[in-house]
Every structure is written in structure tokens, then in C-alpha cells.
């Protein structure tokens, strides 16, 4: 595979000049008080990358410093990249100022590699724009060839010989090579001065001493075949937006806007032959804040389903209070897919039918109660019982919770009733020992004495068995540390035939027992 790299040296400087032709020759782009890029004239004046702006101005008093603007770099580069598109079919923009082209394909089309490269240079040339070309077998070698001495062509199979004389420092100079500066620096400190020296080292030795970063440098130095040129795939922007003349502050107006917007979106999707599986609803409020929520469905959203979701969402935002009038509304289909209705025709096991039926009734309940009333439980992990389950509105997509093993969690069977139950909503729990003194949890996470009886509201239970306490020292890194300890207690009342069991939690800060959950 042959790759051609087009490098536009000091592109931020060139971009700034393209935009404003009156800028002087001695120019530098600064970011966070340090020089990021400087022009050739400034470099001759002693300015270097990474210098402090004050230092640069001291060594070169006529220096003009402008702020870095990645948007400008990208914007100016867009027209050049579009011009190259006419010459070569697959180009990839690594960053503004650096393009790689599949030279093999372009060469076959234009007759020879030389002709293709010549056409590329012609297409890239503009007034005031410098570009150099490097051609080689690998992407990394082509990049280095473009950056060396005004560009050059490395013959096929000659990459290792070409790279051998280069100092290792070139790896860190180009960000698109993804080599860590610290690794490259340590190579130089250890006496590995050229890429040839580096390539001569055994791969295992490099990998054990420098890890993945070192291996990456080593692969470049040995000219190992890398990935292919990956041109950007064409995408169409399917999102629709509406900005009403008067901000929406009423629910019925919101419903109307939602219906209209959903119809527009589905016209677009229909034209593109797609159906929407994940939808982002984005609203801008009068005070400038942006609210957004992502909906995901297993089956494609149709027009009325989309309108319903948008209406519920706007309804929620408008009626929850605090959120002001909506000035602008955007629907963005994040994930689309070709409709797959062909499978349903031959499906006879009925399993998907059950799913569809369940979703239908759930969305009916959602439309009568509101989306936030129909919840889907999900496991978020935790050591207690109540904290393990989190509820999200049905159909809403949230980030997946962090997975962990939660050592020291309360093991199953778990108590199924949170809190004390219907007859004891907020009753206080007291645990006493045989001398009728309160049983507490000490700083060493031990019980202060053996529990004998438990008082729960008006009821008295003799403690038949207990286990624990199991301490959890949570959030000690924050401002609100929680020291709790959990205790399983089985109590027997004189009036009842069966024992009862509770999961009690000792709240360290308050110094009292609380019923976290009840067994049975």
C-alpha cells in the first residue's frame, strides 16, 4: 500500500494569513500564554514552540501574537480538503494541516504515482499556501517523509533505510503519530538517538520497559505495516429544528410544535429510507440554558410515538417549574437504521409479539400518567438493599452504571420490604441489652454489648438471633462522610407465633438505629 501525506507546515499561521492578509510576517499563535506555532520569520528571530509569550516577545520585539483558534484552522482547511477530493477518491484529514491520501489507488487512476502526486500538489496550491508531500509504504513513514527537507518519495520497501537516520525526536514533533513525548525523551536520554537505533532493539525489550507507548514508537521505527487510509464516510444531518416567533410557555403550544416537528423529521427519515432508534430532544430556554434528553426504543419510532415523546418531554420541562419559556427546539435522530420489517412477516414464535404488546400498554400508561410515573428499575450496585436499585423513566436512556463487585454487600436472600412496613412508617427502633441500656456500635465497628430486646414503636421483641454489625465507611473523601453499620436482627414477640427479622442500620452521625428493610 502506498500512502501520500500532504503537510501544510505551521498551518495555524497559514490559516490566519488566509483569513487576514494584512498580518505581518513575524507572527506567532499562542495558547495559554505559550507559543503554539510560529512563522518562519519569527523562528529566524529566535522564537520557538512552547516558549512563554513574554520570553518570545523579549527575544523578538517585532513579534505579533494572535490567539489560537481551532475553528479557524478547520474552516480554512475545509476548502483545501475539498479541492483534493477532486483528485483522489479516498483522503483522510488527520488534523487541519495534515492529509493522507491512498496513493496506490490515485496512482492507478491517474496512470502513475508521480502523476497522481503532481495533481495532488496542484490541487493543494493556493496563493500563500505552502505544502510538502511525502510518499511511502506506511502512514507514519509518509508523514515523516513529508516533514523532512521539503518532502520526498520513499521507494517501496525502503522505509527502514529511510527512517534509520532520523533522530527519535521527530516522533514527538508530530501529534498525529500518537507518540508520547515522555517516552521519546527517555529514548534520547538512554542513548537511543536515531530511529535506526530504536529499530535494532528487540520488541519485547522495548515493550517490557516502555509499555504500549514505547511499542508504538518501535513499530514506527521498524516501519511495520499500519492501518489503511480511512476516508470519512458521508453522513447526512437529519436533525430538525424549530424556533417559534414567540417562546413556547404553554403545554398545548408545545404539543402542537412537537407534532409539527415530528412530521418534518419523519418526512426526512422517509426520504432517506431510515427509521429512528435513538432520539435526542434538545430545547433552548429563554435564559440560554439547554435541556436535553435521549430516548431509545427497541423498535423504530413512528411519527406519533416521536410526537408523544417530545410532547411529554416539553410538558415535563414546562410544568416542572424553574424552566423558562422554550425558544428553540431540536430533534436529532442519533441512531438510525434501515427498517427491518421483512423479518416480522415470517416470525411465528410470538416472543416479539409479547414484547410489542407489553410496550404498547406501558406507553398507554405513560401517556395517561406522564413519563416519570412509569419507571424501570435497574441495578446500580451498593452494599445496602435500598441503594442497589435505581429507577429511570421507562424508555429513557441513561449512562450505564459503574460495575463493581461491592465487597461486603448484604448477601441474599434480601429483605423485600423497604422501611418498616405499612403499620410502622417512621417508628423509632431501640436495641437494648440485658441491663436495659442502649446497644450502640463502637468506633471499632463492634456492638457495645449483647442485644437482648428490641423496641419498635409500641411493640417489644426479644432478640432471638443477630448477625453483624457490618460497617460501611462511605464517602469519607467528601464533605459528608457516612459511617453506617448494618445488623440483621431476628426478634420474637410474646404475642406472635412467628419471629420477625429486620435489617437495621446504625447511622454513625446521628447515633441511632433505623430500619432499612424488613424480611418477610
Amino acid at each position: 500500500m502506498r500512502v501520500a501525506a500532504l503537510w501544510f507546515p505551521d498551518w495555524p499561521i497559514q490559516a490566519a494569513r488566509l483569513e487576514d492578509e494584512d498580518l505581518p510576517a513575524t507572527l506567532a499563535v499562542a495558547e495559554q500564554h505559550r507559543i503554539r506555532v510560529c512563522s518562519a520569520a519569527a523562528r529566524n528571530g529566535g522564537v520557538r514552540r512552547g516558549m512563554r509569550v513574554r520570553q518570545a516577545q523579549a527575544v523578538c520585539p517585532e513579534l505579533t501574537v494572535i490567539d489560537a483558534d481551532p475553528d479557524r484552522d478547520g474552516r480554512m482547511f475545509e476548502s483545501i480538503a475539498a479541492g483534493l477530493d477532486d483528485v483522489a477518491s479516498s483522503i483522510e484529514v488527520l488534523r487541519p494541516g495534515l492529509i493522507i491520501v491512498d496513493a496506490g489507488a490515485a496512482g492507478r487512476f491517474h496512470g502513475s504515482e508521480d502523476a497522481a502526486v503532481e495533481k495532488l500538489i496542484d490541487a493543494a496550491s493556493r496563493r500563500g499556501v505552502d505544502a510538502t508531500v511525502g510518499v511511502a509504504d506506511e502512514i507514519a513513514t509518509a508523514l515523516l517523509a513529508a516533514r523532512t527537507g521539503g518532502g520526498g518519495v520513499v521507494p517501496a520497501g525502503g522505509s527502514t533505510g529511510f527512517l534509520a537516520a532520523h533522530p527519535v525526536g521527530v516522533l514527538a514533533a508530530e501529534t498525529s503519530l500518537h507518540c508520547e513525548a515522555t517516552v521519546v525523551e527517555s529514548f534520547a536520554q538512554l542513548g537511543v538517538h536515531t530511529l535506526g537505533d530504536l529499530a535494532a532493539l528487540p520488541a519485547t525489550a522495548v515493550s517490557t520497559r516502555f509499555g504500549a507507548g514505547g511499542l508504538r514508537c518501535h513499530r514506527i521505527a521498524r516501519a511495520v505495516a499500519d492501518r489503511r487510509v480511512a476516508p470519512e464516510l458521508p453522513t447526512t444531518d437529519l436533525s430538525v429544528a424549530v424556533t417559534p416567533e414567540d417562546p413556547i410557555d404553554r403545554v398545548d403550544a408545545a404539543a402542537f410544535a412537537a407534532r409539527q416537528l415530528a412530521a418534518t423529521l419523519h418526512d426526512r427519515l422517509r426520504a432517506a429510507g431510515l427509521s429512528c432508534l435513538r432520539l435526542r430532544v434538545l430545547a433552548e430556554l429563554a435564559d440560554g440554558t439547554r435541556l436535553e434528553r435521549i430516548w431509545r426504543t427497541r423498535e423504530a419510532l413512528d411519527e406519533s410515538a416521536t410526537a408523544d415523546r417530545v410532547r411529554w418531554q416539553l410538558d415535563g420541562w414546562l410544568t416542572s417549574g424553574g424552566a423558562g419559556a422554550i425558544t428553540s427546539l431540536i430533534l436529532d435522530p442519533l441512531e438510525t437504521a434501515a427498517p427491518e420489517s421483512a423479518g416480522a412477516l415470517w416470525r411465528s414464535d410470538g416472543s416479539t409479539g409479547d414484547d410489542a404488546r407489553a410496550r404498547r400498554v406501558i406507553s398507554r400508561v405513560q401517556s395517561s400518567l406522564g413519563t416519570d410515573a412509569v419507571l424501570q428499575p435497574r441495578l446500580v450496585g451498593g452494599r445496602g438493599v435500598a441503594e442497589r436499585i435505581d429507577f429511570v423513566p421507562y424508555g429513557e436512556q441513561r449512562d450505564a452504571p459503574a460495575t463493581g463487585s461491592w465487597p461486603g454487600r448484604i448477601p441474599g436472600p434480601l429483605p423485600a420490604r423497604l422501611g418498616g412496613g405499612p403499620t410502622h412508617p417512621a417508628a423509632r427502633v431501640r436495641l437494648i441489652d440485658a441491663r436495659a441500656e442502649d446497644v450502640t456500635v463502637t468506633a471499632e465497628a463492634l456492638l457495645s454489648s449483647l442485644p437482648y430486646a428490641l423496641g419498635w414503636g409500641r411493640h417489644r421483641y426479644r432478640v432471638a438471633a443477630w448477625a453483624g454489625p457490618w460497617p460501611v465507611d462511605g464517602a469519607w473523601w467528601g464533605t459528608d462522610p457516612q459511617r453506617v453499620a448494618r445488623l440483621q436482627v431476628v426478634g420474637q414477640s410474646d404475642d406472635e407465633t412467628h419471629p420477625r427479622a429486620w435489617l437495621l442500620v446504625w447511622v454513625g452521625g446521628v447515633g441511632r438505629w433505623r430500619v432499612e428493610a424488613t424480611y418477610g
Binding site: V365, A373, L375, L418, T518
Partner: protein, 236 residues
């Protein structure tokens, strides 16, 4: 055959019956009705059909008629969350969808171990019309658990729309804390034993739930549902 090809009943067939005995006549007419699609169910009506149930834990299946919670009818269950969580876990593990209406204190953490949480939805606050919400859910889910915080007697007038929807759907309805007149099945349950915990030692490893099932047309049955560790043989 008539003129336009429509089959016309032959009148002389009626006369054929005259020569038969009463028993033979009834059999002949019955077989004809079966041919017309209006089959008369012979023998005793099958009330508890094994295919029309929602799967339940094996301990409970042994004592339930039909081996599970019957679909399309009301089952009253005592306020025993441990048993309800077991029912939910089993139904979701078998691929069913479960809805829980009006029970915010029910901890679904126990479902995770043997069931699937993504097949459960909860409506903790069903608003002013919990019966209406339940009636919608029974049309599409496999098991709906509706719970009232204080015991309530649903009059036939209030329950009728719900029961109508229930017969039209596929769900098994479990009412907790509410009772209808003449329920088809009632499950009383109470936790009786906590196993594995001592005075400051062990932990709760197993829970026994004593269950008593009263079903229409069946003799009451009782049994024990064990969650977690079962009672084992102990060396004495």
C-alpha cells in the same frame, strides 16, 4: 347443491333421525354440530389449564392448581413481599413482563439474583385511579401486581371493568391488600423461619414462607416456599 352452487340442507336427513333411538339421535346431532364448529364440551370443564399459567417457584407450583398462577383471573396474595419478589423473579426469568402498581416499598433487589430486572416496570404512584392503570397493564403484561396500602374491598361495580380487561388479556393479576367478591384463588403467606443466623454468628441464609392456597373448586393446600438455603440434615 343449489342453482348457484350453495350447499342446501337436504330435507330427507331429518327423516333419517326418526328411525334411530334417542341416544343415537343425540350422538348424531352432536357430531353434526361439532362439524359445524359449535362443539359442545363433553365431560367436565377444565378450569385449571396447565398452559394458561404463569410460572412460579417449584415449591409453590406443587400446591397450586395447574402448577402456576392462572392467567386471566384474580389471585389475592397476602401482604408478604418476600413471596411477591419470588413470583416476580420467576416470571421474568421465564421471559415474562411484570408490572408493579402502587408498591414503592417493594425492594426489587432480590429479583436480580434469579430474574431479569429489565422486564419489570413499576408504577409507584398510580394516581387517583389505580384500578384503571392496572386494567391497562393486564392487557399486555404477563403478571401484574397491584397493591393497596390499606386493606380495601373492591365492590363488584368497581372491579367489573378491570375483570373484563383481565379476561381479554393474558396477564395473571395479583392483588395485594385488596379483595374482590369471590376471588378465584387466594394465597396466604407468612414468613416463619430464618435459617443460618445465630446469636451474633452467621447470617440469614434461608427464609421459609408458609403458604396456604385456597382455590375455587379445590381443596385448600399448604406448603412451604424456601428462599435461599434449604433446611438440611443436621448432625445431632
Amino acid at each position: 347443491m343449489g342453482v348457484n352452487g350453495t350447499p342446501v340442507r337436504k330435507l330427507q336427513e331429518v327423516d333419517d333421525l326418526a328411525g334411530l333411538s334417542r341416544g343415537e339421535r343425540i350422538d348424531l346431532l352432536r357430531s353434526r354440530m361439532a362439524g359445524l364448529g359449535g362443539a359442545v364440551e363433553l365431560g367436565q370443564e377444565q378450569v385449571w389449564d396447565a398452559t394458561q399459567v404463569v410460572e412460579v417457584p417449584a415449591d409453590l407450583a406443587r400446591i397450586l392448581p395447574g402448577g402456576g398462577l392462572a392467567r386471566r383471573i384474580v389471585t389475592e396474595v397476602a401482604d408478604c413481599p418476600a413471596l411477591v419478589v419470588e413470583l416476580i423473579a420467576h416470571t421474568t426469568a421465564a421471559g415474562g413482563h411484570v408490572g408493579v402498581v402502587g408498591w414503592p416499598e417493594l425492594s426489587l433487589a432480590g429479583v436480580v439474583e434469579s430474574g431479569r430486572l429489565d422486564r419489570v416496570i413499576a408504577v409507584p404512584d398510580p394516581g387517583v385511579d389505580p384500578l384503571g392503570i392496572t386494567a391497562v397493564l393486564v392487557e399486555g403484561l404477563d403478571l401484574v401486581v397491584a397493591r393497596w396500602p390499606a386493606p380495601v374491598e373492591l365492590s363488584p361495580v368497581r372491579a367489573r371493568p378491570l375483570l373484563g380487561k383481565l379476561r381479554g388479556g393474558v396477564a395473571a393479576l395479583v392483588l395485594v391488600g385488596a379483595s374482590v367478591t369471590a376471588p378465584s384463588m387466594r394465597i396466604d403467606a407468612a414468613v416463619t423461619t430464618f435459617r443460618g443466623i445465630g446469636t451474633g454468628t452467621g447470617r440469614i441464609r434461608g427464609v421459609d414462607i408458609d403458604v396456604r392456597v385456597t382455590a375455587k373448586g379445590q381443596r385448600p393446600a399448604s406448603g412451604t416456599v424456601t428462599v435461599g438455603q434449604r433446611a438440611g440434615l443436621r448432625a445431632v
